[in-house]
């Protein structure tokens, strides 16, 4: 069931090359130490960028977010079946949404990458599948004006840890998750697939639930 499609090599560059390219760009744009040794920007820095957009309509912060995320969103959409011009168009729209919804972003519940992913995923369904995306109701409480720094840090660290755990998975399992998220597996294929590392994914759930219950108090 899963042997038919190898990832599109045009955009699934080997991780090293990708990081080298992304790293070069981000370094040129930011001129500061935002890269860890493995080339992944620190996600808590992006949290600050979103806050600067929300509080001060900071176009420099937006430009830096754009340089990092827009090419990734474009690549993600092309991997998911969009042609280059549609992917470019949608990536711009995703970044427009990021600006307008900056006040909705809650760094104690999601990293910026997670948030951008959800915006891109919704845009993908609109544009590629031309169908609606029913979304859950918003929580009755919005993001706090000044969320607890420790909450933010914990969440961002957990997110990093999950990202690292995914990166450390055996090749076969990682490819399976990629396929699921690039839309190459249907729901029934996901349901039938026993090789998905659900334990890794679910390690974060308790924290997320605690966070929701904390917010309800």
């Amino acid at each position: 069931m899963f042997e038919q499609t190898e990832p599109n090599e045009n955009f699934a560059s080997p991780p090293k090359a990708v990081h080298a390219r992304a790293g070069a760009k981000v370094n040129a744009g930011l001129g500061r130490d935002e890269l860890r040794r493995n080339g992944t920007p620190r996600s808590d820095d992006w949290v600050d960028h979103v806050a600067r957009i929300r509080d001060a309509q900071d176009q420099d912060a937006f430009a830096e977010l754009f340089r990092h995320f827009a090419p990734r969103v474009k690549a993600f959409l092309m991997r998911s079946g969009a042609d280059a011009s549609l992917a470019e168009e949608c990536a711009q729209e995703v970044m427009v949404t990021l600006w307008h919804k900056a006040h909705m972003f809650d760094p104690s519940r999601a990293s910026v990458a997670t948030w951008v992913f959800t915006i891109a995923r919704n845009r993908k369904i609109d544009a590629l599948r031309k169908s609606n995306r029913p979304e859950p109701e918003d929580l009755p409480w919005g993001p706090e004006a000044e969320p607890d720094q420790e909450d933010i840090l914990t969440l961002q660290q957990e997110t990093q840890a999950l990202g690292q755990a995914l990166a450390d998975l055996p090749e076969k399992q990682r490819k399976l998750i990629e396929k699921a998220y690039f839309g190459e597996l249907s729901h029934s294929e996901i349901a039938a697939e026993t090789g998905l590392p659900l334990g890794t994914i679910k390690s974060r759930i308790r924290l997320a639930l605690d966070r929701l219950r904390h917010a309800m108090k």
């Binding site: 955009f11 990708v18 992304a22 991997r79 959800t118 609606n132 979304e135 998750i177 597996l185 759930i205």
Partner: protein, 215 residues
């Protein structure tokens, strides 16, 4: 709307497919409606979305066109789109209300026999979803033994071989599950039911005509 005591939840494969954006629209509506009522599944979805974020970070990058940033800033300066309120407080959570055009009193029910009523909601045709209204003590129409079927209770309750399902509970049934859900005697039951099996409405009516006696 997050105070329900929910005992029956969505499966991991449904949450992952919803997060990845690969569920049929009809299933997505049931998932979004359940999550509106269920903090636990909201938290689980958060984990699957985090995986999506990690995939986005590692999927490589495709160079944007030369003027992309300026073009995007120009779009931003045109102003924000009007945002609809996304919290209802009615019987039906907001995602469901969006498909009905209102709450419970706006549903256009059609009788299907024995007091059972249904309203089919418009979605893409890879799966279908409808509201079912089952009078207290009646059997839920037997309609889901092909493909996957999701049944979310919004009012009242039903009981079947898997237990009791009340507001917010969702039953995930596949071809193997043989079940005969019966609405609780206390209150009329309203469910949101989605299936990816082709619907055969004509075949439904005779089965609905069988009164349920063993309450």
């Amino acid at each position: 709307m997050t105070t329900e005591q929910i005992n029956h939840h969505l499966t991991d494969d449904l949450l992952m497919a919803y997060s990845a954006g690969s569920l049929p629209e009809a299933f997505s509506l049931v998932v979004a409606t359940h999550i509106s009522l269920c903090d636990e599944c909201r938290a689980r979805l958060g984990s699957f979305d985090t995986v999506g974020g990690a995939m986005l970070e590692t999927c490589g990058d495709a160079e944007m066109s030369a003027g992309a940033l300026d073009a995007t800033m120009a779009r931003i300066m045109k102003g924000a789109p009007v945002q609809k309120p996304r919290s209802s407080g009615g019987v039906f959570p907001t995602p469901l209300q969006n498909y009905i055009g209102g709450d419970l009193d706006a549903v256009k029910w059609r009788p299907v026999g024995m007091g059972v009523r249904q309203a089919i909601l418009p979605t893409s045709d890879d799966a279908s979803v409808r509201l079912l209204y089952i009078p207290a003590g009646c059997a839920v129409p037997d309609h889901g033994h092909r493909g996957t079927e999701l049944t979310l209770v919004l009012q009242g309750a039903f009981v079947d071989e898997d237990g009791r399902f009340a507001r917010g509970d969702v039953e995930v049934a596949n071809e193997e599950l043989e079940h005969t859900p019966v609405a609780d005697i206390g209150e009329d039951c309203i469910c949101l039911a989605a299936t990816d099996a082709p619907l055969k409405f004509r075949g439904l009516v005779p089965r609905l005509a069988q009164p349920f006696l063993k309450i």
